[in-house]
């Protein structure tokens, strides 16, 4: 098995973290549910910092409420604050759901949030209450991805219901992907004539048009009713290799509790991985892959042929969330690029195994996998690896600048360009965009380095 092999001595300190905290992931999931308001149970800074971070990427209004602990709250417990917060959210936003995520503060003082919510429900007997979903997201446990998946699990756990017979619809858990990816996945399901419960679906809430009238909660998202129906879906599809190795997932829960069959495949980036997703959808729907997607696949392979020599044996540093890194690495391998450093701040313990599965010849290729890595560690490895380009989020920019190598921005966050929400990564179409960007980046590098300055490349 491929072992993580950091060359730098392991530092106690995390320097320039390649990860975010758990409540951010949970808040993002709640933003993908129709009419939902996320509520963080902790200090005001938690919600404000997370809002600022998300807004800088999505460039949309993102309201995240907070129970706003004071010193007294920390001493006497956060029950009273949480109930006031729930009240005020209902009065201001009239939400269809409230998603309550804890923070390191409320978890450390031992607040029993499910009990607080129960008490709140009892105190509002007779009132029409929205569902209040609770998820434990102490930031000392895992990264924003743990928060993301924990929130999905909590939503399904607390809302899903079984049905007498299986419905026509499919549950799709895409992972932390872009609004453009979500729209593309919806389109693919529609082309298979498969009704889909896409969770989360922040395609519209975090990438919508300007407004005519003010929207307290932006339109869009998967409805609570749709989530309830996830227990009677004909199947679930969960995207993520690392996720597939997790002990408990939303789709796993639906299988255990309602026997909804679960298909687990890696992120559909590149031909092979996307083929697997289309095969799964074909199996679930009983229909062949629609013609328009086959043509898109054909064009992608055509472009591989056109561009293969520009990318062959190029060396890439890949970083970001574990499942994104695995998906990108697989795709890069497919086009002849060597992902010489595969790095993540995540520490599921599965990254190395997932990369090894994609690259049985990883040791000959000199592929290095870094788990629980920060950007200083990644930069040290990247310097040794002499990459041609870096691919990951925009927090890698200062590293790319020092290494004097191009950075291809993908994933989250993209804080230094517009259009982060519109980046497409998934399916044949997303792979096409990635391929073109990679090939063009390498061509541009050759062109720039050329003393001649050819207009033909």
């Amino acid at each position: 098995m491929l072992k993580p092999s950091p060359k730098a001595p392991k530092f106690t300190v995390t320097r320039n973290a390649c990860k975010l905290c758990t409540p951010l992931g949970a808040a993002l999931v709640f933003k993908g549910i129709r009419g939902a308001v996320p509520l963080l149970h902790g200090s005001q800074g938690c919600s404000t910092y997370i809002r600022r971070y998300l807004i800088s990427h999505y460039r949309e209004p993102i309201d995240i409420a907070c129970s706003n602990f004071s010193e007294q709250t920390a001493i006497f417990g956060g029950g009273a604050n949480l109930k006031i917060a729930l009240d005020n959210i209902r009065r201001q936003y009239d939400p269809e759901m409230i998603g309550v995520a804890t923070t390191c503060l409320s978890e450390t003082i031992g607040d029993d949030v499910p009990m607080f919510i129960r008490e709140y429900r009892e105190s509002c007997a007779g009132e029409d209450l929205p569902p209040m979903v609770h998820v434990a997201t102490p930031s000392y446990q895992g990264t924003h991805m743990q928060g993301f998946h924990a929130a999905l699990r909590a939503v399904v756990d607390q809302l899903a219901q079984g049905g007498a017979e299986a419905g026509r619809h499919v549950n799709l858990f895409p992972g932390m992907v872009s609004p453009a990816d979500l729209r593309h996945l919806r389109e693919i399901c529609a082309d298979f004539d498969l009704p889909v419960v896409l969770l989360p679906d922040y395609a519209d809430t975090l990438d919508g048009p300007l407004w005519t009238e003010y929207q307290r909660i932006p339109e869009g998202g998967t409805s609570v009713a749709a989530i309830r129906s996830s227990g009677s879906a004909r199947a679930s599809l969960e995207l993520g290799d690392v996720l597939a190795r997790a002990k408990e997932t939303a789709a796993g829960l639906l299988w255990k509790r309602f026997e909804v069959p679960c298909h687990r495949i890696g992120p559909p980036v590149g031909i092979d991985a996307t083929d697997r997703m289309f095969a799964a959808l074909a199996e679930i729907s009983g229909r062949p892959t629609p013609e328009n997607h086959l043509r898109e696949r054909g064009r992608l392979i055509d472009s591989y042929a056109d561009g293969h020599k520009y990318v062959m044996d190029a060396r890439a540093v890949v970083f970001g969330e574990e499942d994104l890194v695995v998906g990108l690495a697989g795709f890069l391998g497919e086009i002849g690029v060597v992902p010489v450093v595969c790095a993540s701040g995540g520490r599921s313990g599965h990254l190395a195994a997932c990369i090894a599965e994609r690259f049985p010849d990883h040791s000959q290729k000199g592929i290095q996998v870094l788990s629980d890595a920060d950007f200083v560690t990644i930069e040290t490895a990247a310097r040794d690896a002499q990459p041609d380009f870096l691919i990951g989020n925009s927090k890698g920019y200062s590293m790319a600048r020092r290494l004097d190598k191009p950075l291809i921005r993908v994933g989250f966050p993209v804080h230094d360009r517009v259009g982060g929400a519109r980046l497409l990564h998934l399916g044949y179409r997303g792979s096409q965009q990635l391929f073109d960007r990679i090939a063009n980046t390498l061509m541009a590098a050759r062109q720039t380095a050329s003393p001649v300055g050819y207009t033909y490349m």
Partner: protein
């Protein structure tokens, strides 16, 4: 227009000039469940100390607080850039259970060995006090061992508001003051306080003082250096900008070292000139300073007036809304906007006090909305009602403006353009012009609905 409800508890934080007797509540802990634009105590400390470029900034806590404040500000340094790195003890579950002191100590030692800082600041985040870490004791021990000041910053997020964070930062800074040599300092010397060198603003301000013949001993904290802060008690005057971020330090220096201080602002022609004249007047024993100041002000203003006049012609009569952290900045912005012929229809702040709001009331026209600790719903309600053409705020306010087709000017720490001083005023005017006069707004549906744009066909 869908009505946006205002919570009863919030009504007393909102004042409409002219219509009602003035009675504005402020300085309170934010209401739970409202989406306050404020951050936390930690945020206050972090913004004040962040620009000290040769100090180590170690954030003791789980990963989030460090990740969200990594290199987010435009605070420039002319030399070392240690402040742009994000260091955190990244506390994990076992640290929370067994305590983080040992990890903190190891972290400090390895960071000091690696980066050789002139001092270290250790920021406590929410859970540090709760798990019982004695941060001060660890700091004392490492300080002895490494022979540099290692200063605890008591910035647990929930222990007050951002203002308490300012205070904690000033208390940490005050431990440095008085430690350096002062023999060579001119009798006509100042410290610049509350100026953070966003986009190089401190350099602009400092150059004015140097041209006036006034020595700047320390800038706190823009382009800050530990050694300069240590000798800052040798300055004859503290010149304090900003609402309250560093007034605490000025008070402490006055009490211990007898250093008088004046409060100034460097935004807008009027306030910048007043600041420089006030300093010159303070040094009345050296009339050459006043003479040079007059020449400087005349020269600077006449250099930018022609372009300002052109911009004024283009933006005259437009309506502006202001929502900023400290109210003092709002005063300057009102004057600067009036200079450009614009009307201020909303003015608010996160942390204003009674005196601040009285000043605001006196400055504003009838009908102007004054807001304390507002949230996105309230801001949206009033910018729509008052038909603002421009919103001045930070990243969290930006999408609120854009969604409704309103121009925006970032006047927060993340901006990269200097807006202080005379050239800053020109930059400000240009930015206002570019946003307010952009042709894109005619496509905005809210503008079309108001009869000011293109309706969709």
């Amino acid at each position: 227009m869908a009505s946006i409800p205002i919570l009863k508890e919030r009504e007393k934080h909102i004042y409409r000039k002219g219509a009602e007797p003035f009675n504005l509540t402020c300085g309170q802990h934010s209401l739970a469940g409202v989406v306050s634009q404020r951050a936390c105590v930690f945020c206050g400390s972090r913004v004040v100390l962040y620009p000290i470029a040769d100090a180590l900034h170690l954030i003791h806590g789980p990963v989030g607080c460090a990740a969200y404040t990594w290199d987010i500000r435009g605070a420039l340094s002319s030399g070392p850039e240690l402040h742009r790195l994000s260091f955190t003890t990244d506390l994990r579950e076992k640290d929370v259970i067994f305590g983080g002191e040992k990890k903190l100590q190891r972290a400090l030692v390895e960071l000091i060995d690696t980066y050789q800082p002139r001092a270290a600041f250790v920021y406590s985040t929410c859970i540090v006090g709760i798990i019982g870490d004695d941060v001060a004791a660890v700091c004392r021990q490492v300080s002895r061992e490494k022979a540099i000041p290692v200063l605890p910053v008591h910035s647990e997020g929930f222990k007050g508001t951002k203002k308490d964070g300012y205070k904690a930062a000033c208390e940490a800074l005050f431990k440095l003051v008085g430690q350096g040599p002062v023999e060579q300092i001119s009798p006509w010397s100042i410290n610049i306080l509350g100026e953070f060198n966003i986009g190089g603003e401190a350099w602009i301000i400092k150059s004015y003082y140097e041209k006036m013949g006034v020595e700047v001993v320390a800038t706190m904290t823009g382009d800050g250096r530990v050694d300069a802060i240590r000798r800052s008690h040798g300055a004859a005057l503290n010149v304090v900008q900003c609402s309250g971020a560093m007034t605490t330090l000025a008070d402490m220096m006055q009490a211990r070292y007898g250093t008088p201080y004046i409060r100034v602002s460097y935004f807008g022609l009027e306030d910048t000139s007043k600041a420089l004249y006030d300093v010159a007047a303070h040094f009345g024993d050296n009339p050459a300073i006043m003479a040079r100041t007059q020449a400087l002000v005349r020269g600077e203003i006449s250099a930018i007036t022609p372009e300002l006049q052109k911009i004024k012609a283009a933006v005259q009569g437009k309506r502006a809304a202001i929502y900023v952290g400290g109210a003092f900045k709002a005063f300057s912005l009102i004057k600067a906007l009036r200079y450009l012929g614009m009307d201020v229809v909303l003015a608010g702040s996160q942390t204003g006090n009674d005196a601040d709001y009285e000043t605001l009331r006196d400055m504003c026209d009838d009908g102007t909305i004054i807001l304390d600790d507002a949230n996105p719903l309230e801001l949206s309600k009033y910018i729509i009602e008052k038909q603002a053409d421009l919103f001045i705020g930070g990243v969290k306010e930006r999408p609120i403006a854009y969604k409704m087709g309103i121009g925006f000017c970032d006047h927060n720490h993340e901006r990269k353009t200097p807006l202080a001083g005379y050239e800053g005023m020109l930059n400000f005017a240009r930015e206002v012009y570019r946003s307010v006069n952009s042709p894109v707004w005619r496509f905005a549906p809210a503008r079309a609905a108001a009869g000011k744009g293109v309706s969709p066909c």
